[in-house]
Structure formats: structure tokens, C-alpha cells
Symmetry: D2
Subunit: 227 residues, 4 copies
């Protein structure tokens, strides 16, 4: 299946200091350069809401890191799903390990996003949760064992069975791509994740806290292109 | 005192549909035009994080509507106080009736903001809460009886004693400006608030849901200029 | 299968005024009388934590309405799963429509409860959520469309397909009993739920807000006994 | 003033394992014995909701550790203020460092409790928060620097100025007793707190995690009686 051969490299900027200001823009420029010569890999930048419109002037495959389960209205300080559509944001991460929502809210967000033609990458801690969120038919699922996030210990090495089980669990109910994340530190970890059945990786600190985020991004993208 | 003679018109865009896209930009253009000819009134636009950087290209007196009690780091989907500094945002509303935080979080946010030279408009439901938040020394306090927010029944008419008591309560501990909000529908309501001792108003639906937000903004600003 | 022929009548006391004081105790006495002569129906009283130990002196099939995802420790004002074991409570409702938790917390609670030999009735809004929570292997699942809760419009009449779809969805992954709830007003609604494939019902206002909670409880229990 | 000469010893059971089962009852028995011979010290046991009615059969000066900002109604798994009245609980802790609430919720809880003749011990992290919560006129305020809670480093030794400043700040708006807590490890720490102007102490781990909670309770109570 063509869909499953696509590779996804989702860069979660989180809100590290490198996620703002000129460094964020430089990373977006590198993503733009890379994308023009990648055929297999789709690079998605999941950026803070505060810089999304700036990033969009440089690179157009942009997600938010969270969205709130509301429509337009009197919700001071929240981000409605509909706002992404108006502002040209392609999609959003939801239910990240650092920003968990209830299943009810997840259902609202995914259903509203689909109605509007927006994408949703739903995160999960475990294979069970991966299957649970897949039932709501998001665009993609990413599984990340919380204890490995930011640890530098790659899930693809420390808990390869989480990846294989998640892919298997999701396949029982859906054909959507399954990404792996947590502790992904170098290109080799991403390649292993693909070998274990993932369609891509969700990477944060390995790029954002790197001495050269651009170089790190390039390494991951090129490695995935060759898988 | 000069500080207290200043008038504040804080426009809370909330996340109405008019708070995004071209309508948001037009309102910012009007704020820009107005500011060049106002001497007494400071117009602050409290905008969704998602459009803040776009608004900043047009108008520079911009607040967020909320900020999270974190610094830079691994906080997917949250907005650190420090990010405002990097992105050139002047300040933020916090503890709005639609986005309440604990006193502990409020204390963190205000103290971090002050360290960074950022402003904070802290909201309160009652005179007691106005005094409570004033103890933390934010830049301004706004009092808004929750039951009048969005009601079209102006606080300055329906509960004038909330304004006078709040000003009095805040004065026991601080000299910061006290704004009034909730149900402020027309310029006259803003004038009454000033007469009751407020230094300005916090307005949302009367502008954002108006047929002509620009005209409504102008009316409020010009009325306050004459007080 | 014997397990599926069992009928469950779970009475959610919520925190209505009738859920405390002498009325709560009288209802427990009626449950005790009924249980001695019912062979097919299991009556579970889901009571406020505050009265659980009093109820236990009268009736022993008692659940809490919620439990927190913590063990023993420094968690002022929360209820650890382990405390139920020590205090002789048989189990707990979790993820009720009025008290939603994240999937992560649900996973913690169910896994801890199972380790301790405690039961968990996990609630769901929809067939998708019913299947999602069933993946975590709780003791039972109850599906309740939120818009019908407390409405007096029985799910078994207004949305029979929610019951049939939920049973079907849960059966894909588990053999646990599926209960139905929301708007269940009279014995006939409970019978219909059974006919649609449910193993029992979750009832609140129809009993707790009845002029005679005891009579209402008896009617439900006897009707289920005859199914 | 007589009121200020009263000494308060509030034992926060938290949800340590010793807060449930027979150990909790034994501690209540010791409190009962002590109270019959203390004239100056009031011993309040702040117990988990789950065991409150059992404790009440032994000792009658009982608080909960938290209450929810709701009245009777359809609030599955929450504890309404009104329920305390019906069940004979004298009062509640609110806004503990481990269970923070918004100022709005605190205002609701205190005002509802007062209407019902119930007591509220409102907690605070800092002198500012102590004054802020005192504005709502609870029965007592307790100040506890969060970083010292459970540390074994007594606030009365490590941060005596927090106690003196809190008493001073509260006195600007109210005459209610101010308690001190956090790290209070032995009777001497309690005596120091009184010397610094507190009317009592809030103690948890020093009693609940002691080899002999009864002995520890007795030591604190007798020391306070002599102040």
C-alpha cells in the first residue's frame, strides 16, 4: 500500500528556547530546503501556537502541538479547532504525553478536525491506548512510552515490542500510519523504528536540543528517505 | 498621579470567529490608526496566541489572553512566559473568568513576567479577588462579575458597587490601575466605569461581535479619550 | 455463558441530597432485603466516599463513584485505589460522564485495582469509548450517551443502537458485561436494555430522586430478575 | 483575646497507609483520650472522606481534607459542602498545597460552609496567599511553604519569617487564627511556631509516618498545651 510506504518525520518543537525566535525560523528554513529534495519523507513541524504564523511564511507543513475542544466563541486563551483552518495550519498533535486530554475531548477534536479537513496526530502511551485512539480515526497515531521521552534511550532499542504491538493493535481497527517516539536520539533509532513497522518518528529533544538542530533534522530526514 | 490618569482600553479578542483571519488584522489596523491620534488612551489588543505574530506586524501593543506557569522546556502545547519576551509580546491577561488559574500559578506567572519586563493584567470576579491578585503586584487588575460577562448588561450600570469596592480594595495594597469589565456594551458604559473610579475597561463581545468592530473600537477609544 | 446471564443493577447515588443521611441508609437496607431473595440480579450501590463505611455496615456490595490514580502517600484529599481494599469496598466506578479521566489515569486505576482484587466499572460515552476502555480489561463497562443522562429519556428507547453497537464493539476485544445507562426511568427501560444485549443498567435519578427510592429500586431489581 | 490564646493542632492524615484501617482508628482513640484532658489545645483530625464516618464514632472534631465547590446534585464522585453538614463533619481543609483550587472555588466553598455553620481551614503557600484567602473569612488559615512539606525541615526553623509575615499579613484584614505547617517534625518546632505568632500547627508526616503516631500526637498536643 502506497500510504504505508510514506515516511513521516514529525518534529515536536515543544517549548524549548530553541522553539522560538530566530532559531525556530532557521529550522523551518532547513525543513523547507529538505522537503524540496525529499520524495518519500514528509517533514511536519509541530510548533508553538505563538510562532505558527511566522513559520508558515517559510514552511507550509505545520501542526500545532495541542488544540482545545472548543469551537469559535467566548473561550479566552484557548485555541479552537476551527482557528487552525482559518489560519492555514494543516493539523495538530493531540493527547501528547505532556498534555493529556480525556477520550471525550479527543473524540470532539478529531471529529471537528475531520469535518474541517484538518489532520490530527493522536498520541498514545501504550499499544492499548494506540488502538483506543485509532478507533476515533485520526490521521496518524504516535506511540511514546512516557518514561523514555527525553531520556535519550530510544524506544526502538529499549522497548521494540511497544512499536510492534502498537502497529499490530492499530491494524486491528485501522490502516492509519503509526509513528514511534520517545528517546529517538539518532538516525539509526528512526531506521529501527521503521524496521519494526512504524511509518515514521516523532522527534523532539534530539533535534531541538542539538547543537545544530538543522544538521540533526537533515540526518533524520535523509536516513528515513533511504528506508 | 499621572499613572492613574491614563485610560486603558483592553480589547479581549477571545476566540470569536472575528478574532482570526482578515477581520482580526483589520481591527489591528484600526487600533494602529487610533493610537497615533490618542494621547490619553492606551489600546491593548489581547489576541489569540495563534495570530499574535501577525498582529504584531501591524500593531505593537499586544497581549496574549493566557500564559502557562512554565519556563522554556518539555511542555508540549503550553505557552511559557519567557516566550512572550522572545516574540515581542508586551504582556498577557491571566486568570480570566473563562480561564481561571490557582493563586500559586498566578504568583509564578506574575513574578516571572516582572523579571522579564513583561506586563500582566490579572482578572478577578469580585472586589476580594481584585485585592487578592493585587497583592501579587501585576501591572493592572480587571474586575468582572462572571454573571455579566457577555450579557450585554454593563457592570457599570448593574453593579456599580463592584467597581467602587474593587478600586477601594485594591488601593489598600497597591496603586496599580483597576479596570472594569463584563457587559460593557457601549461607550457610555465605559465612561461610567471611569466615573466610578476605574482606569479603563476590558471589552470583548461589544467589539468582536459588532457588525463593525472597527467602528465600535473607535467609539470606545474616543469616549475614553474625552474622560 | 453463565457470566453473561448475570444481571447487574448499579445504583449511582451521585451526591443528591438523598445520597446522604438516613435516606441513604434506608436505601441500603432495601438493597440488603432484596439481595437475599434475588438469584440472578446483583445490586451494586455506588455511594459517596463519605458514607461508604456506614453503608457497609448494612450492605456489602458497595462501589465508590470515583477513585484517584494514586497509591498511598502525600495526596491530601484524594482517594487512593489501595484505600478501597483496606476499607472493604468492593470496587469503583471510573470515568463517569460527570467525572472524566484521561486514558492514562484509567489504565493506572484499572491495573492497580486488578492487582488488589478490586472491581472497576468503566464508563463510556459512545461505542468507540466502550471498546477503548474495554481494552484495559475492567470488570464491566457502562455506556451512557451524556446528553440523555438525567433527562428522563431512556437510552434504550431513544438510542437503542448505542447499546447494540457498544455490546458489539466490546465483544471484539472482551467478554466483560456491558451495562447501559442514561435516562433509564422505569423498569421497562431496563428490560429493553437487556433485550438489546446489555447485562444490566446503571441507574441514578430514577431511584435517587424518586418519591420512594426503595420502591423504585425494588421495581428495577424485580424486573431484571425476570429477564 | 481569648480566641487567639487557643492552640490548634490539626493532624492531616493525608492518604498514607496509616490513614486507613485500624491504625487510623487507634489514632482517633488517642485524640479522644487527649482531648478529655487538654484545656487549651483543640485537636482536629483531617481524615480521608472514606473513613470520616468511622472516625466520628470515636472522635468528634473531624475535618475532611478537601471538599468540592458544588451543592447536592448530579456530581458523580465529588463531595458537596452540604454533605459535611448532614454527616456531622465539622469542617474541611481547602486549597492544600497538594490540592490547589482557584480563588473562585475557594470563595464558593467558604461562603457555602459559613452559611451551613461549617468550618474551613484555608491553606496558603506564602504570606500573600495567606492574606488573600483570609479576605474570604475562613475559620483559620494555615501557611505552608510547599518546598518544606514532608521535608523534615521545619518552617519554624528554616523560614521563621514566613510565619511572622503571614500573621502580620492576615492581621491586616482579619483576626482569624493563623497556623503554620511544613516540615514540623517535633514538639519543639510547634512551640517555635507559637512563639513566632502562630495559633497552632498543621502536622502530617511527623505523626502519620511515625513509628508510634499516638505517641507523636501526644507529644505535640502536650507541648502546645504548655505554650
Amino acid at each position: 500500500m502506497v500510504l504505508l510506504e510514506r515516511r513521516f518525520l514529525v518534529v515536536n518543537f515543544k517549548v524549548y528556547d530553541s522553539a522560538f525566535g530566530s532559531r525556530a525560523l532557521e529550522l523551518a528554513r532547513e525543513a523547507s530546503r529538505l522537503s524540496s529534495r525529499l520524495s518519500k519523507v514528509r517533514v511536519i513541524l509541530a510548533v508553538p501556537a505563538l510562532i505558527a504564523s511566522k513559520i508558515l511564511t517559510i514552511y507550509n507543513d505545520v501542526y500545532l502541538q495541542h488544540v482545545d475542544p472548543v469551537g469559535f466563541g467566548a473561550y479566552t486563551g484557548f485555541t479552537p479547532v476551527d482557528a487552525l483552518k482559518v489560519e492555514g495550519i494543516r493539523g495538530t498533535i493531540v493527547n501528547h504525553s505532556e498534555h493529556k486530554v480525556t477520550y471525550r475531548d479527543l473524540a470532539f477534536i478529531i471529529s471537528r478536525a475531520k469535518l474541517l479537513g484538518l489532520e490530527v496526530l493522536a498520541c498514545a502511551d501504550t499499544p492499548e491506548e494506540a488502538m483506543a485512539v485509532a478507533l476515533l480515526d485520526p490521521t496518524m497515531v504516535a506511540v511514546e512510552p512516557p518514561e523514555l521521552i527525553g531520556s535519550g534511550i530510544p524506544v526502538s532499542k529499549a522497548k521494540p515490542e511497544v512499536i510492534t504491538s502498537s502497529v499490530e493493535a492499530v491494524r486491528r481497527v485501522s490502516n492509519i500510519p503509526v509513528l514511534a517516539g520517545a528517546g529517538i536520539s539518532e538516525a539509526l533509532d528512526a531506521i529501527r523504528a521503521i524496521e519494526l513497522g512504524a511509518s515514521g518518528v516523532l522527534v523532539a529533544s534530539a533535534i531541538m536540543k542539538s547543537k545544530s538542530p538543522e544538521l540533526s533534522l537533515r540526518n533524520f530526514a535523509e536516513a528515513l528517505e533511504r528506508t
